[in-house]
Symmetry: C2
Subunit: 469 residues, 2 copies
């Protein structure tokens, strides 16, 4: 909605020039860059916008393990080298590929009309010509769970819900279970197909896709999401009390094995024994849009922050940036990274993967989350309007696995998710949704955090590693 200002502030160039000079000074004396100064300068930095605009314009959608994601990796390597990072390389892995096809849905009776629909990840296709069946409707996942198979078998299941926006995005956890597990439950009860109300909080005709996995031996069936207005329309039609028949045509399906990969770059540290601060986001996106808030913005934020630290002088610890591949279909990139790098010393890990709106809260996971280092980080974030939470940081799909296997401390810089699920996984995830000022606030937060975490002599104590997943 908010457009980038036409003119950039001249301060950007001034700051860059000053920092250029400072680089030499810092390198010479190995002094800690001042986090407050770096934070304030980052508020004027458009590097994140330029990365975001670049990848979303020049690559577009980046569905995992497809040629589009491969083009994104090429773009990423070139960009990270151009920005001056060290050790830029790709670590590939193979995985099953799912692809979308043509997809349509319509009410056949009692009131014929088309509905906007999008298949969910790992959905099977319908038979050629589609399938037509009566709708069995459920308000929420519990109702589907409790339904006897006789109420579901041979029908198209429809699951409605009442998700509302929350700043911490918490409703996605509870309501999102409809998408994650609803299809398997419907399949096991003999449903021909399932359509869910999109896991989203908007009112636009843009269905929200997302991954679901077939569990407990459930047979793959067509599984799709209706846009929120279409789900509301179907609910109104159902309220008339007459049997409702849907026709569904879904061309999606599995397409063999493909290659994905993590793109890695570093700001090398002064002390090889001081360990690695890992920051990341994910390079892949869903195929319906340009994956701007999910998650090109995350890549852009952490990369711009690391660049500011690099420009300010060599930090004590290595900062490793990972643009993870194949997050959306199930965290393949995070798992591959954890497997490949479990033996390395990660002193702190964090990812940015909740859009581009401002950071409002910071949480830590460490043996002592009240350590002075955590206090210093929280203090440096406070001028950005960020307060300290009381939850255990989890780090998300990308850095979660490495944290789990190594016990590495985790930091969560929580972004305001109030409007995130308006856009998440829809055709609407495009550049116009990003507010450049909030994007810069994110860069400032990650810059301040890195200025301390990569430089401070103290480090957070690791927690006990969990068994490898």
């Amino acid at each position: 909605m908010i457009k980038r200002p036409l003119a950039r502030t001249p301060f950007l160039f001034t700051a860059a020039a000053l920092l250029g000079t400072s680089t030499i000074a810092f390198s010479a004396i190995a002094a800690s860059p001042d986090p407050a100064t770096l934070r304030e300068a980052a508020l004027q930095d458009d590097t994140a916008w330029d990365i975001l605009e670049g990848i979303t314009t020049e690559v577009g959608q980046r569905l995992a393990a497809t040629p589009a994601e491969a083009r994104a990796r090429e773009w990423a390597v070139a960009e990270l080298k151009r920005q001056g990072f060290a050790n830029v390389h790709v670590e590939t892995f193979t995985m099953p590929v799912w692809q979308r096809g043509e997809e349509t849905a319509e009410i056949v009776a009692p009131f014929p009309q088309k509905l906007a629909v999008a298949a969910l990840g790992n959905s099977s296709g319908t038979p050629a010509g589609g399938l037509t069946a009566e709708v069995a409707a459920f308000d929420g996942l519990d109702a589907l769970v409790k339904a006897p198979a006789s109420a579901v078998a041979g029908k198209i299941v429809f699951v409605n819900h009442h998700m509302a926006a929350q700043q911490d995005g918490g409703s996605y956890g509870e309501i999102g279970a409809i998408r994650r597990t609803g299809p398997s439950i419907a399949s096991q009860k003999g449903a021909l197909a399932i359509v869910i109300r999109s896991i989203g909080t908007d009112h636009h005709r843009v269905p929200h896709t997302g991954v679901q996995t077939w569990v407990n031996g459930a047979k793959a069936i067509p599984a799709a999401a209706l846009s929120v207005p279409d789900a509301e329309q179907l609910a109104r039609v159902l309220e008339r009390g007459k049997p409702v028949t849907l026709h569904l045509s879904i061309g999606a399906g599995m397409a063999g094995t493909g290659t994905s990969g993590n793109v890695i770059a570093e700001v090398p540290g002064r002390d090889p024994k001081a360990g690695i601060v890992l920051v990341g986001g994910h390079l892949d996106s869903w195929d319906l849009a340009t994956g701007t808030i999910d998650d090109a913005s995350g890549l852009a934020i952490v990369t711009a922050a690391a660049k500011r630290i690099m420009a300010a002088g060599k930090p004590r610890r290595t900062i490793r940036i990972v643009w993870f591949g194949a997050e959306e279909p199930g965290g393949f990139g995070g798992d591959a990274y954890a497997k490949a790098h479990a033996g390395e010393k990660h002193v702190l890990v964090g990812e940015s993967d909740s859009g581009a709106d401002r950071v409002w809260k910071v949480d830590f996971t460490a043996a002592d989350p009240k350590a002075p280092l955590a206090d210093r980080i929280a203090l440096a974030l406070a001028p950005l309007g960020i307060t300290r939470g009381s939850a255990r940081a989890h780090g998300g799909t990308d850095v979660g696995p490495i944290a789990q296997v190594t016990g590495a401390p985790v930091i969560d810089l929580h972004q305001d998710a109030t409007r995130y699920f308006d856009i998440h996984h829809t055709a609407d995830d495009t550049l116009d949704k990003v507010d450049p000022a909030q994007l810069r606030q994110n860069v400032a937060a990650w810059t301040a955090m890195l200025a301390i975490a990569a430089e401070d002599a103290e480090q957070l104590a690791p927690v006990a590693p969990a068994p490898e997943r």
Copy 2:
């Protein structure tokens, strides 16, 4: 965005009961219903919502001269009879039919990606398999007009613009010329096809369709709109300075002759010589959505208002409600009505066709727009937050023709159009966009107007009729 409150106010039922009693009293004494009382009661009336919810749910899209519009006429006749109106009937007419087909657009080079596209009315189709050509881009209509044919011939024209929301919807007039005349100009210069930035003010992946007509002998070519985010994306790609190639596949085209019709109902007046107050909206919609704000809401508003007058006692003048057919493809219903009813005495005409947001301004066209009757109407509207404008009312596509041929005075109850062109002609024109409170304010405004215009002994003086179109 705004949902209807779950519980209706009990006042509705109280008011209806009271008015039931009043009907007898008014009929007996032929007294003027008090406009203020009727206006305030209308603010509690959900009749408009029920009509709106009914037709958009039970019929859905209603493209002109198609079976869907015919179903809508059946629905309309049943509903208007159920509401108790007199002389409910359909006046049919024939017209050319245009229909949409499959439609896709994609950037082939330099950055391959799909774009969201919708054909414009009267667009031709592309050859089977689509067409691929270089883009010739223009910022605004003037740039296209001034371009030499050599810059356009053999290419796909893209016209960008910078439309912003305005309360009076005025930007649609100027910027909308790109849609109305751009295709003919491009065709005459030898373009293979044209894609325009949607004539809209939103940032969603829902292109805005709308009619355009081939003029000055221009050959029909594929003509389509990109969604605003896609047009911005294409502009960013073009800014890179490399040649940009598009592939366009449009299945639209003309489909012979079909039947449309106007659905007419009346509140008969006490005095057959006192003339007709005509109020209307249009029954047809574009095919991409359920035509909620364009224009089921208009039908619902004027019908609910007429019903309130009917329930309050027989007015002096006949109130005629017309649900016009085939407005979108070029005002066929308005023209047919004017032709059939030019000989009848229309004392005031008005239509509601700018959504469902609140009325903010009233304008008149009459020989003496400052007549006491106009003052009384404006005074009755003032408590609803409506002020008096200084423009000449035009009445729109539906009632414009009858006003033109008869010289009938026109009233415009202008709706707030600030968010109208976010939704107009897109897949997003669905029920969730309507705010029930603002819908009721519209009903109250039309009720107050009708209470005076259909009852007052005075009438506005007609203007000189224009020659028939």
